[in-house]
């Protein structure tokens, strides 16, 4: 009996969890979340920028200043130093956009991180890739940049036959790939975990065998715990994405000596 009810639980095909119908033609839920993220970020900063800067900050102004200081103190000063402070708008936008796209994964009734689809992580990773390569070429010249990337100084000449292909792959291919996959896979894995435990507790609570109903509390607690964990992951992934972008840009602007 119980075995039969357990076996009757089936996980839906993954595309039903991830691919969404268009709300209006050409705009689905993921696109809507991305637009909403950009809109929320813009509105918060717009409201913050309109307030009197002389008085003690509170509300949206406080939020905006905390995020600016977080980017400047915890990301730029740690990785790029004082020269990198001009990158604050770009990195702040990156951080806020990724974070605001991650957050819907744990907001009840939305529960879909926009970054759990490959589109946004891929776009952002390609953008970061373009930015750090362009910065490297701009600061070191085309040949200087590729020389410092492909032929890192301080390596015996004979080893270049081994080092150069590795550096080429790791800098120009693995970097954007891992940047995109890290964010995407983290959010997708978190989303699938939440889905699994939500479906499991739902199936348990609605089971025909009454003995399964109290057991359904266990996956429900797991669901609550994982939702708390996802709060952390959403922040951490945005932070890691931003800090890696900062490290890559800094490495391209100031080559290793």
């Amino acid at each position: 009996m119980i075995i039969n009810s357990i076996l009757s639980f089936e996980f839906p095909p993954i595309n039903e969890l991830l691919r969404w119908k268009d709300v209006v033609p050409g705009l689905n839920k993921v696109g809507l979340i991305a637009v909403a993220s950009a809109l929320i970020g813009t509105l918060v900063f717009l409201s913050a920028a309109r307030k009197d800067p002389k008085v003690a900050p509170k509300g949206t102004r406080n939020l905006a200043e905390v995020s600016v200081e977080f980017i400047e103190n915890n990301i730029i000063m740690q990785t790029m130093g004082r020269d990198g402070l001009g990158w604050t708008p770009f990195l702040l936008t990156l951080f806020l956009f990724v974070y605001l796209c991650n957050m819907p994964g744990i907001i009840p009734f939305i529960q879909m991180p926009a970054t759990a689809r490959m589109a946004i992580p891929m776009f952002l990773a390609v953008l970061v890739w373009v930015v750090f390569n362009v910065q490297g070429i701009k600061h070191q010249g085309f040949f200087g940049y590729f020389k410092s990337v492909l032929f890192p100084p301080g390596v015996p000449k004979a080893l270049y036959i081994l080092v150069t292909p590795i550096e080429f792959i790791s800098t120009l291919i693995v970097r954007p790939f891992s940047l995109a996959v890290r964010l995407f896979a983290n959010m997708l894995a978190g989303h699938l975990l939440l889905v699994i435990f939500a479906l499991l507790s739902e199936a348990m609570f609605q089971a025909r065998d009454k003995i399964l109903i109290p057991i359904g509390v266990l996956p429900f607690f797991m669901l609550v715990f994982l939702t708390g964990f996802e709060v952390l992951v959403a922040f951490l992934q945005a932070y890691i994405f931003t800090i890696l972008a900062a490290v890559y840009i800094s490495g391209a602007v100031h080559p290793e000596h």
């Binding site: 993954i14 891992s178 890290r182 995407f184 896979a185 983290n186 997708l188 890691i240 890696l244």
Partner: protein
């Protein structure tokens, strides 16, 4: 035992007639399981060393934390690639 054999039978029934699906499901499980071993150990080592460094020099905790997150990000990427391979094998 009886229950276990029932589960196995049901799973086999579900995938019956589709050899590729069985093979894909099995290798998907292997892919993620194997991909999680190395990064698990690696992240443990990174965290342990970071805690040791912070305990020795609490004033350098900020720098250590940033570097720790970077190291975890690089290590974790391997496990996540395994997860992506899992999704590809299972669903693609």
């Amino acid at each position: 035992m009886e229950a276990l054999s029932k589960i196995v039978k049901a799973a086999a029934d579900a995938a019956a007639g589709d050899e590729k699906n069985i093979a894909a499901a099995g290798s998907a499980g292997f892919a993620y399981g194997l991909a999680a071993i190395g990064p698990g150990i690696g992240i443990g080592i990174i965290f342990g060393s970071a805690i040791e460094a912070m305990a020795r020099q609490p004033e350098a905790a900020g720098m250590v934390r940033t570097t720790m997150f970077l190291g975890i990000a690089f290590t974790e990427a391997l496990a996540l690639i395994g997860f992506v391979v899992f999704i590809l094998l299972k669903y693609a």
